[in-house]
Amino acid sequence: MNCIRTVLAVLLSIVPISGLAADDGEHVYRTICQSCHMADGQGAQGAGTYPALAKNARLASSLYPVQVVLDGRSGMPSFRQMLNDEKVAAVVNFVRTSFGNSYADRVSPEDVKKLRGADGAATSASAGELVRHRLPGSDFPILMAVEVPAGYRTIYLSGVVPSVADSSRPPSSVEAYGDTKTQTVSVLRGIERNLKRLNLSMSDVIKMQVFLVGDPQQQGRMDFKGLMAGYTEFFGTKEQPNLPTRSVFQVSGLANPGWLVEIEVVAAVKER
């Protein structure tokens, strides 16, 4: 296999094929893309589907089709070795202005070059990976920002509240649910369970909002340390190094007077 892949790459780059000489976007489309997406850009339906490019909302982002052409997507092969930057730009511009699409912005060969990677070498086998930007000059375990490229599903989860930790205590008391750290761990476990139900995991969390009630033990201020102690058991660990973006708020109260912590998260996962 290894040699087959390498040599096919060699073949694609060295053998001159009459049809691919032109840099014209329509020409590239008619001699390659059309084999699956069809002459009218309507795609096709068999045991599976070739998506229609005609009026495809995903083409609104000009970089998304570039990434897909370069790296392929599921069953679709990568064309980064068969097509140079000019041809990728040309065919994307053709598709975005044909079949009823009329996007005004154009992709340039330079745009393609950037997405291809600095050295033009094959990088990832799949379209656009999620980018997690760390905090500059800090090891505090949250992200400065996260970028979710096209091709990802975004999942919004409701806020999760703690479970009872000590049932011998009055059910609406802080004692029943424990301190901020105990409640944080309980809440994050609940989130982990919910994610699992969706075939997701903590590593897919990209955004978190934390609502803390002032801790009576801390003169009514939030127990930020307690939150961090629980949080770092789930994020930035050796097993689960991924970090989310995060905001923390102090609120005057939650639905149950015993609750000090409610957390909601957003997850993103590559589409199948």
């Binding site: 339906q45 045991a47 069953g75 679709m76 075939n199």
Partner: protein, 549 residues
């Protein structure tokens, strides 16, 4: 299909480009192997490779005997290609209750043969009717079975599928490039004899000029000279020249006859420079590749004889025209939702305690299925390769009658890539069907993009450069671009090295109650043997798990 010639040809190309050109003082192991291969033939090379740890035995362990299936356990098999058929056959034999869902109206998947009267509708809606005469056929997918594909061969033998020899190497077929020898096709035997002869002569010169003294002892050198003389058909002075000996390889100008027929006259070898520039040597060693070595077979009457043999045995288990739209597993089993692919209508469900899913990844990656992230990411990591085949019917078997080519393959640098002649019914009067194109790479995308009739037209135009008889004798043709085949959306799962490292194991491991099988879950890219071995491995592991639980 079948990890094939186009790619193997390129291995030759790449090898040629990266081979060290300068004379080095010491011989690398690869050079030594190359030398052994050239002098001793592929057999010697293979045994040398085995002793050096390069080549491995087949992983086929013989027929599986699954014993002790728990009473009443059911298994749902998705897909009735070769992997699904093997799974269904063996699992039913083991005592499981088996049900199979298949998208197509018949069994076999890519194990497929087109005959006169068949209609084929590709993605996009173009319909072709095969107009071949009775007995003539095209295998649009796999068409050969190497001697070391024990799994496929074993089922052929058990099911009584008749095999006949597939001519991979035909010394009288052509090698052709529009840029070499004025575009005139050259006989394989000419190119091979001349290439070996010239190389042997040059290497002999190097030995005699003491250029290899650093690597070889005096005794080695004498042996090597002797070997080169025999391998290259050199004369007494170690020259490759017009002689009885060289003509015994490349053929005579005036061949040997009987009685008072003209005296035989040796032929003149081609010029070494022109030969090297032609590039035709690139196709010489295809038949030396393990996957294409002799003996290599084809089922008599078409590849789908294998599918038919399976269908006879497990056809009663198969629900045809079933397009799977969702696969869900829960604590007690697996449910597949499907619709009738012909009639549409209400969604239906099929359920089994376990599931062997052989749906190609190009399609499975679009079907919602609750397996773990590891498998699910693997399913989405494998693009499907392009390939095109064109079958052409001619009024007469002119390749036999005029060119004396009986079976085998002509290779060309034209987009059609090759012309393969029927390996059966030699010398029979009447019509014949050729494989008029079989291509990968950009040309395959371009041909697939064309309307079927245009693919056929271009195959005829290009083939006429090799066989001018095409123009007179062509009758009809049929063309299959694999990206347009509705039940696969491509020719085969094309794993990148990176994807293979990251995902292959996860694709093959059992996930809950689901296990995947098929060519895509094997290391035999585009070979039927991959489907068979993968299925046998998957059901063996699944059965072990079921028996244990």
């Amino acid at each position: 299909m079948e990890g094939d010639g186009a790619q193997v040809r390129e291995i030759g190309r790449e090898g040629a480009q990266s081979a060290p050109m300068e004379t080095t003082a010491s011989m690398t192991r690869r050079e030594l192997l190359t030398l052994i291969g050239q002098v001793g033939g592929a057999g010697a090379m293979y045994s040398a490779m085995t002793s050096l740890g390069f080549a491995a035995e087949s992983t086929y362990k013989g027929q599986v005997e699954l014993k002790g299936a728990p009473k009443g356990k059911s298994i749902l098999v998705l897909g009735a290609g070769l992997a699904g058929l093997v799974a269904a056959y063996e699992l039913e034999k083991a005592g499981y209750k088996v049900q199979v869902l298949e998208y197509n109206a018949k069994a076999g998947g890519r194990c497929w043969t087109l005959r006169g009267g068949d209609t084929y509708t590709e993605l996009g809606g173009a319909e072709q009717r095969c107009e071949f005469d009775k007995g003539l056929y095209l295998n649009p997918g796999p068409w050969r079975i190497p001697y070391h594909h024990y799994g496929v061969l074993d089922y052929c033998s058990r099911f009584g599928v008749t095999l006949e020899a597939f001519n991979q190497v035909n010394h009288n077929a052509y090698l052709h490039s529009p840029r070499a020898y004025g575009g005139k096709p050259q006989r394989y035997r000419h190119v091979q004899a001349d290439f070996h002869g010239h190389v042997a002569e040059l290497l002999s010169k190097a030995v005699n000029a003491n250029a290899l003294d650093g690597s070889l002892t005096k005794e080695d050198r004498e042996k090597l000279l002797e070997a080169l003389k025999s391998w290259g058909a050199l004369d007494a002075k170690h020259r490759y020249a017009k002689s009885w000996g060289s003509s015994n390889r490349r053929g005579f100008e005036i061949p040997r006859g009987g009685g008072l027929m003209p005296a035989p006259e040796p032929s003149t070898p081609s010029d070494v420079g022109e030969l090297l520039a032609s590039g035709l040597w690139r196709s010489l060693e295809i038949g030396a590749e393990l996957d294409f070595q002799s003996s290599i077979f084809q089922p008599a009457g078409g590849m789908d004889m294998i599918a038919q043999a399976f269908q006879k045995r497990v056809g009663h288990l198969i629900r045809f025209n079933a397009k799977v739209t969702e696969i869900r597993q829960d604590d007690s089993g697996v449910t597949a939702t499907y619709v009738d692919s012909k009639r549409g209508g209400q969604a239906m469900t099929a359920r089994g305690d376990y599931c062997v899913c052989t749906i190609p990844l190009s399609i499975l990656s679009q079907i919602p299925m609750n397996v773990g992230r590891a498998m699910s990411e693997g399913i989405s990591a494998v693009p499907y390769a392009e390939a095109v085949k064109v079958g052409l019917q001619f009024k007469r078997r002119f390749w036999e009658q005029d060119d004396r080519i009986y079976g085998g393959i002509t290779y060309t640098d034209l987009a059609i890539d090759r012309i393969a002649y029927p390996n059966t019914d030699y010398g029979k009067p009447g019509k014949g069907v050729l494989l008029g194109a079989y291509m990968f790479g950009p040309a395959a995308y371009e041909f697939t993009s064309l309307a079927p009739s245009e693919r056929v037209k271009r195959a005829v135009e290009q083939g006429a450069q090799v066989h001018p008889q095409y123009k007179q004798e062509f009758e009809n043709g049929i063309a299959v671009g694999w990206h347009r085949v509705p039940w696969v959306h491509g020719c085969a799962g094309w794993w990148s090295d990176e994807a293979r490292r990251k995902h292959y194991r996860n694709v093959c491991e059992i996930d809950g109650r689901i296990v995947l099988a098929g060519e895509h879950a094997s290391l035999l890219f585009a070979w039927q043997e991959g489907a068979v071995l993968s299925a046998l491995d998957a059901i063996t592991r699944l059965h072990e798990r079921i028996v244990k639980s």
